[in-house]
Amino acid sequence: MIRVQAEDFDVGAELARLTTGRTDVGGVASFVGVVRASSAAGDLQAMTLEHYPGMTEKRLAEIEAEALSRWSLTGSVIIHRYGRLLPGERIVLVATASSHRQAALESCQFLIDWLKTRAPFWKLEETAAGGQWVEARESDDHAAERWRKP
């Protein structure tokens, strides 16, 4: 399940949804990304996430489908917010459920790595010096690269 929204989300409810009413789940792995107050550009007042409506949903669905094809999962969820967020606010949730813990943990890491390099979102950081677009990081490319199939 993927969602792109301005509103915050309820992590507990989203994770519970992956296990409620079923008994084949052995583990649920999740990652929640949060706006940090300090950035390379200085103290952050806010962060604005821009996205590409339509393409963003399409790419997220594709990334989720890739995870479902690589690992045996009982469920997954990707929620990514857009708009202006303050330090401490949640940006993104990825969660995967599986009968086996390793599949859940690996696919969760995969989803966040791929999402960072493939989902059309752009971060604008607001500091005292003004707004500045965040530059893509090479370390994120490397993190995503390791999931590339030979």
Partner: protein, 83 residues
């Protein structure tokens, strides 16, 4: 075709979208960027560092040799930084 611009490309070009009709010799993404760059100083500045410009054709990532045609939705944006 419909052009969309995101993040600092939107800022430099000064609009978020526009309807354009490139000449017939514009057959692929690379041709389109070359032609766009010649449409004025704002475009020239936005497209100066070609490695920093990613392109999607009809919401799929597209390489320079990807064909473009009338009716396409073509988006230009910097490398993504979500998550």
């Amino acid at each position: 075709m419909k052009l969309l611009y995101f993040a600092w490309l939107r800022g430099k070009i000064g609009k978020s979208s526009e309807e354009l009709t490139p000449p017939a010799f514009v057959r692929n993404v690379g041709d389109l960027l070359d032609w766009l760059e010649a449409q004025g100083p704002a475009y020239k500045a936005a497209l100066a560092d070609r490695r920093a410009v990613k392109v999607a054709v009809n919401q799929d990532y597209a390489a320079p040799d990807h064909p473009v045609k009338p009716g396409d939705e073509i988006a230009l944006f910097p490398p993504v930084t979500g998550g």
